[in-house]
Structure formats: C-alpha cells, structure tokens
C-alpha cells in the first residue's frame, strides 16, 4: 500500500480505487477530457503521440481511446453510459457502453506503463470495471463488494496500476455484470511489449475484436437481458455482417487477429485460405514450441486468442465463426423444417386467410438470401450481403479478409471485390452429366 501511495502521490490525488470523486469542476480539472465517439466505422490505428512507442492495433468497427501523459502516468477516462449502436444499416440497438459506443474504446498501453484510468458512471445503476486478465493490485480488480465498493451513478472512480505483462486483455463490468454485459458493456485491451520480445513478432496489421451476443426481439431495440443462451444477434464488436468491416491487408503482411469472447458460448473462429498459429492466449504469448498451424481456433467463453498468419494468398477470404447459426442474423430457432413439403397448392388457401403470405422453405432457405419482404421495424433479414457473384446469405459473425497485392502499407481502405485471374473461378460444366452410379444395393 505504501509504495502505491508513493507512486501515485505525484498525481496529487488520493490513491486507490475507492476514491469517489464527485464530478465537480474541481475534480474534473484533474480529469482528462472524456473522448466520446459516434459512428461504427473502423478508425485507423491511433499512433501514440507520447509515451513509449508501439505499433497500434486496428479495432474492427471501433477505435482506440486516446490518453494523456501526466507526470509519467498514462491517463484514460472511460465513461460508462447508455449508447445507441448500429449493428448494420437498418438495425440499431439501445445498449450500454463506454464513451458513446459499445463495445467501449480499445485501450492500448505498453508493458510497464503506469496507468490511471478514470471511470465515470453515467448509467442509472452502479458499475465497476474489471480488467480481465491483468496482473494488478487486488483492490484494482474491480469486483464489486469483493475488492471495492461499486461506483454509484454520477460518480467517478480511479483505477491505478502498472501494465505488468504484454498481451491481449478485455475489460468489462463486475457489478450486475449479467445485465451490464448483456447490454453490451465491454472493451478490448492490448498491452504492447516494451521492446522486442522473442515470443511476440511484429505484426504488420493487428486487428482486434470482441465476440458478443444479444437477444433483441425483432422489432425492438433493447436486449432482453434475462436471456442466457438463446441469443439471436451474434456480433463482433457489436456489429453483424454485412455491417462488419472487411479486414484489409497487403499481400505478404503478417496479420494478427486478437479475439476476445464475452458471449455465453464458444466460437470456433475459422479463416479461409490461410493457416494461422495461436501466438497468444489469455496468459500471454505462447511458447513457440506449442504453435502449430490451424485454420480454426475455438475461443472459449471469457477467453482471448491471438492468431497470427502471413497473408500470402490474394483474394477475398471469409473469416467467420464456424457455428453456422452464428453467421445468421436474427432468426427463429423454433421454425420447423419445411424442406420437401409442397406448399404451393395450399398457398392460395393460406393467403386467403393471411393476406401477404408467401410460402417459404419448401426447397431450403437459400431463397431467404434474395427474398426481400417487409420485416418488423429495426430488424435485419436473417441472411444478407451482396457479393460480386450474388447474394451471400450471411449475417452475424462473418467478415472478409481482403488480401491485395497493391494495398499500400497502413492503408485500410476497402479495395472492393477481388478481381480473380482468368480461369480461377469455379464454373459450370457444360457437357453431359451421366446419372450417378449408386453402389451398395447390387
């Protein structure tokens, strides 16, 4: 305790997370101006203007929280507050988040940084922040009741600790967390190595995103916070396909995907066209001897994974959760299978009773990806997305890694659809198709 007091005395503040600064002007003078962001587009990496240098990450459909250096301490200001988040054009949700967005801004620090994080609570109820995965003084761990009193509405608390180990982390509330996480309160955290680290390669493009899930009844906008498992919005950084930006890289780049899972289930993240290695987990960089090539890595509940690959194949490569229901937007999980059930002759009878009825599902659901029928307000079609060859019929946890030869370094602008070299696209066979020979019965 003594050392911490000494450490923080230069800030002229009383140390400890239990400091309840009322948001008076005097107190605010000591606070960094909170930075509030609107809009769900991916911001370019935030190059550090002070402190130790590092190669910043790109937060998919998000941003990095600016900091200020004050007497050698890196200061951040998080504001917990209700937000409106667009998941994709046509669907906005009433969430809780930080600094105008859900998820909150990514916090990027460097191993060894002294940190002071002001947390202002503009929610209608108490909150705290737990710095998921961090080594820190117990009183900074953010567990209401256990390690600190909660932050009442309207109050600002201060968290102070040193970023002790490099790696991928998350932050989220530990007060009424069932509700607050269901409402979208979470954020990403990256601690960059202080210098060259034998286990951490320098990445050319470093993308991070949180897996999160919501249950928002079609036509409404606020998550049903009591839902435990049956979610209908499976999102990355509170975005769903086609609202998730593509991951744009230059051919040959070392690309890093940092993925944290704050949903209620695991997500096997699958990358097309490349093999990656798991270079880091919750505990930090993995020993090189444990790394093997994978195309799918499961990210369990509460876990973080760091996947590295060399983007050496040009093209538009899908990256998605391999639970195929998680690459759908809101859908009914109790809808019966209609495949093989002819409805056409009954359709007239039914549409007599239900004007506007259309038969669906007799031949599968692919028709849903092109059908455009009126839906409940503020609701995305279950299957969406238009590609160069037609409808994708996707949603939820799906995006595209766009590997381009001519993409400039540091340029994240979408290059458009891949132009396939001639003769490299699957094509229709024009000859005779003899009936298949079926074995077994003879």
């Amino acid at each position: 305790m003594k050392s911490r007091r000494q450490f923080f005395s230069m800030a002229g503040m009383v140390g400890g997370a239990a400091v309840a600064g009322s948001v008076s002007r005097v107190a605010m003078a000591a606070l960094p101006e909170p930075v509030i962001e609107q809009g769900a587009q991916t911001r370019p990496p935030l190059q550090p203007s002070s402190g130790r240098p590092y190669r910043p990450v790109t937060t998919l459909n998000g941003w990095t929280l600016p900091f200020r250096m004050r007497d050698g301490v890196k200061e951040f200001h998080l504001v917990a507050e209700p937000v409106v988040r667009e998941f994709a054009p046509g669907f906005k949700a009433n969430l809780w988040g930080y600094n105008g967005q859900s998820p909150g801004p990514t916090i990027e620090v460097v191993e060894g940084d002294k940190l002071r994080i002001f947390v202002t609570n503009r929610l209608p109820e108490a909150t705290t922040i737990h710095w998921h995965g961090q080594r820190l003084p117990n009183g900074m761990d953010g567990v209401t009741g256990l390690t600190q009193p909660s932050i009442p509405p309207g109050k600002t608390f201060v968290y102070e600790f040193v970023a002790r180990r490099p790696g991928t982390f998350m932050y989220h509330p530990h007060t009424d967390e069932m509700v607050q996480m269901a409402m979208g309160m979470m954020g990403f955290w990256v601690t960059h190595p202080r210098g060259p680290n034998p286990l951490i390669d320098e990445a050319d493009r470093d993308f991070c995103f949180l897996l999160n899930a919501f249950d928002i009844d079609p036509g409404s906008a606020t998550p049903r916070i009591m839902t435990m498992l049956d979610f209908n919005i499976w999102s990355w950084n509170s975005r769903v396909f086609p609202g998730i930006d593509p991951l744009v890289v230059r051919l040959g780049d070392r690309v890093r995907l940092r993925v944290g899972n704050l949903t209620m289930t695991n997500h096997p993240i699958h990358l097309h066209g490349h093999e990656f290695q798991v270079t880091g987990t919750d505990g930090g960089p993995t020993p090189r001897s444990t790394r093997r090539y994978e195309v799918t890595e499961d990210v369990a509940v509460g876990q973080m994974k760091q996947l590295d690959f060399i983007a050496d194949e040009e093209g538009d490569w899908a990256v998605h959760c391999h639970k195929s229901h998680h690459t759908m937007n809101a859908m009914g999980h109790d809808v019966p299978t209609m495949i093989g059930v002819e409805q056409a002759d009954l359709a007239r009878k039914i549409s007599d009773l239900v004007p506007g009825y259309m038969e669906m599902g007799s031949h599968g659901m692919d028709e849903m990806s092109t059908m455009r029928m009126p839906l409940p307000a503020n609701t995305l079609p279950m299957m969406m997305g238009e590609g160069p060859f037609g409808a994708l019929g996707m949603g939820g946890m799906f995006s595209v890694v766009k590997v381009r030869r001519n993409q400039k370094r540091g340029d994240y602008t979408d290059p458009g659809w891949f132009k396939h070299p001639p003769g490299t696209v699957a094509y229709e066979y024009q000859g005779e198709t003899p009936p298949p020979v079926r074995g077994g019965t003879r």
């Binding site: 019966p336 209609m338 009773l353 239900v354 506007g356 009825y357 839906l375």
Partner: protein, 471 residues
C-alpha cells in the same frame, strides 16, 4: 191502471231504444280500429312498422308484398314489416284482441226481454196469457255496464299493444341473432380452413419426415376442434335462422328465399342519451296504461257489483186473453240468505289488487328503464371497445406476426394459429355487437313499458366473447 202500464211501457220502450242507440254507438268492435290505436298508444316504438298491421289486405296482396320485401336481404325493419304482413301469430294476436273486445262490449249490452206465452185448458176453459218481461236492474245499471265495457275494451287494447310490442321485440332480436350467428359461422368456416391447412401441412411434414407423430397430431387436433366448433356455429346459425323464420311466419317457399344481410348494422355513432331514455314519461308506458285501464275497469266492476250483488229485479207485463185482464209482475230477489257481501268483498279486493298492481308498475317502471339502459350502455361500450380497441390490437398482432413470418422468426404453423386467433377476435367482435343490438331492442321495448327479456342474456354471453378474445 192503464195509464200506469202505458207509462211503464213507454219508459221501457224509451230505455230499449236508448240502449240500442248506446249499444250501436259505442260498443261495437272494429278490428281495424283496434290496430289503429296502436300507433298512438306506442308513439316511440316503431310506428313505421306497426302501421302494416292495420293494412287490411287480401292474402294474395300480402303474399306479393312479402315476396317483394324478401327479394332483397332482409333488414331489421323489413323483418318486422314481413311479420306484420305475414305472421299468422300476429293475426292471432289481433283476432284474440277482437274476441276480448267483443266480450267486453257484450257485457255492455242490455239483455233481451223475455216473452212468455201461457196456454192452459181445463175442461171447457181455455186460458191464454202473454207476458213480456225484462230485467229492471239490468236496465237501470246499463250506463254503468257500458262504462265498464268501455274500460275493459281499453284494457284489451293496451293488452294488444303490449303483445305486439313483445312480438316486435322478439322479431328484432331473432333477426339480430340470425344475422350475427350467420356472420359468426362464416368466420368459423375460415377458422376451419386455417386449421385444415395446418393439418394438411402437418400431414405432409410427417410424410416428409420433418414432423413426428405428436407434432402432426397436435396440428390435427386443432383441425378436429375446429370441425366441432364449426359444426356448432353452423347449427347455431341454422337454429337462429329457423327461429327468425317462425317469427316472420314464413312458409317453406318464403323461407327458401329469405336472405339476410352479411353483417350487423354499424354501431350508432353515439349511444342513446340517458336523458332521452328517461324522458319518456311513465304515464306513456304501456304497462302503466294497461294497469290504469285494468284499475278503472275493476273500479267500474266494483261499482256495478254494489247493485247487482244485492238483488235483481225483473218486471213483467202480462195480458190475459180472455177477459182482457192486464197487469204486471215484479220479481224481486230477496237478499235473505245472501246479502252479496262476499261478492262485494271480492270486487273490492280485485279493485285493490288492480290499484296495487298500478302502484307496483309505476314504482318498477323507472328502475326497469335504468336497468335496461345500463345493459344497453354496457353492451354499447363493450361493442365499441371490441371494434375500436381489441380488433385493431389484434390486427397489429397479425401484421407483426406476418412480418415475423417473413423474417423466418416463426413458422407457417404459428402464422396459421395467429390467423385463427384473429378470426376468434372477429367473432368476439360480432358477438359483442350482437349483444348490443339485443340490448338495444330490449331497451326500446322497455322504454315503451315492456321490459324485455334478452337483456339478461347479453350479460351472460359477454364473458364468452371475452374468452374468445383471450383465446
């Protein structure tokens, strides 16, 4: 003695002449006249329709008129008109009234004199005597008896008016029930169609291996239920139609041509105001008028009874053939054993009963009107609530259900189940409106002084409608 006899004869002749004049003047019975009174007696009650009763038409003309009305869907007013023209029951009412009126008039006439002829022979003697005799008391009380007869006839007229109002109310309600239940049955058919579509899809689902037996059986169970309720709804419609047909007095040919409107009339923009309902003075009410007429008749009867219970006097004028002896006889019933006290007591009791009946009617009148009005108003508000709140809400649910189906948040079975729920709501709306029109007919009847049944039914049926809405 001769002058006396002459005087008597003269007096008797005069009295007879006067009596005949009275009888001829007042106490004849004209059926058309009786009916004509109705409009004046019940000014607030369907005057337009009642007038058809008085049109004395030939049966063929009536048939033609009925045929013309039946050529189009039959409205409520037209239903009453058809019954007036066509219903044998209605003619029964009129005929019964004529019978009662003639009975009353009869009591106001003077009894015919007796002529007595005696011929007696003894040995060589032949005696012939003739006598004309008549009831003196009867003659003396003639004015009273005529007033009694007039009052009785008036009471009979009120009775007829009351019976006609009852009949009209029943016709109106029968019409409401027939239209509403046909409408409801049509929607039950749509529910059946929906359930059939569900069941057929479910069978195909099972055949394709997408449903197990239980899932298929559940959908089929809806169909089975729908078949039952559809059959009951159709039965209810047929029963209500037949009840109307009987009320209208249609024969088989006419019944075949009977068409009903597709739906009940729209609710009035505003309910009848309480002030207007209360404004019908209680002395304009049929029940009050009837009780008053019955009281007046009872009082007249009591007054007459004061005389007739004590004695009876008969006067005879006699003439002997031989010798020309003339004279008269007076028969006087002597009140020796019976002074008529019991009769007078009975008459007094009847007067008292009639007076108390009037009092009871007067006292109940306001309360009945208020009760009927409350039932009417409640039925109105419920019907409006059903149409303006429940139905739009249900429509929103159905619209959103379709949108949810479009987005594949629900399947076709839920969509069809919702369609059934919506139709159930429509049936609840129909039921609520039916209750309103029944209550309306009951209120119209109550206002003119015939508290009508059917209003109670509306209260009993309302929860059923609410159940249907909740289902």
């Amino acid at each position: 003695m001769t002058p006396v006899v002459r005087r008597v004869r003269g007096a008797v002749g005069l009295a007879v002449a006067a009596a005949c004049a009275l009888v001829a003047g007042c106490v004849t019975v004209d059926p058309a006249q009786s009916v004509r009174q109705l409009d004046q007696k019940v000014p607030a009650f369907g005057t337009e329709s009642l007038q058809f009763l008085r049109e004395v038409q030939k049966p063929e003309e009536r048939r033609e008129a009925v045929k013309a009305v039946l050529a189009k869907p039959l409205g409520q007013t037209e239903a009453v008109r058809v019954a007036m023209l066509n219903s044998a029951a209605m003619q029964v009412l009129v005929a019964q009234n004529v019978a009662e009126a003639t009975a009353a008039a009869q009591s106001g006439r003077i009894g015919n004199p007796w002529f007595n002829y005696e011929r007696m022979r003894s040995e060589d003697h032949l005696e012939i005597s003739r006598m004309l005799s008549f009831g003196v008391l009867e003659l003396l009380t003639l004015p009273q008896r005529q007033r009694l007869a007039a009052e009785s006839r008036r009471a009979a007229e009120w009775q007829l008016a009351a019976a006609v109002v009852d009949e009209v109310t029943q016709i109106r309600q029968a019409w409401v029930n027939a239209v509403a239940s046909a409408q409801s049955a049509a929607y039950a058919e749509r529910i059946l169609q929906s359930a059939q579509a569900s069941a057929e899809l479910a069978r195909r689902m099972e055949a394709a291996g997408n449903f197990n037996r239980i899932a298929r059986a559940r959908q089929q169970a809806y169909e089975a239920e729908a078949v039952t309720s559809h059959a009951l709804a159709r039965q209810a419609a047929s029963v209500a139609r037949e009840q109307l047909i009987r009320k209208l007095g249609l024969d088989a040919t006419q019944a075949d041509t009977l068409q009903l409107p597709q739906r009940l009339p729209d609710l009035p923009a505003a309910p009848l105001e309480a002030a207007k309902v209360g404004a019908v003075a209680s002395d304009a009410r049929l029940d009050v008028q009837l009780a008053e007429a019955q009281l007046r008749a009872a009082l007249r009867a009591e007054g007459l009874n004061g005389w007739t219970s004590r004695t009876d006097i008969e006067l005879g004028l006699r003439r002997e053939a031989d010798g020309g002896a003339r004279g008269f006889e007076v028969d006087l019933r002597l009140p020796v054993f019976d002074w008529g006290g019991l009769q007078r007591q009975g008459a007094r009791a009847r007067s008292l009963a009639a007076a108390q009946q009037l009092e009871a009617t007067l006292r109940a009148a306001g309360s009945q009107t208020r009760e009927s009005y409350v039932r009417y108003l409640t039925a109105y508000e419920l019907a409006r609530h059903h149409r303006e709140e429940l139905l739009p809400l249900r429509t929103v649910i159905s619209e959103e259900t379709l949108l949810r189906y479009n987005g594949m948040f629900i399947g076709v079975f839920e969509l069809l189940a919702d369609a059934r729920d919506q139709i159930d709501t429509v049936r609840a709306v129909i039921s609520a409106e039916q209750q309103f029109w029944l209550a309306e007919a009951a209120l119209q009847s109550t206002i003119v002084g015939r508290p009508a049944a059917g209003a109670a039914e509306s209260i009993m049926r309302a929860p059923a409608a609410a159940d249907a809405a909740a289902h």
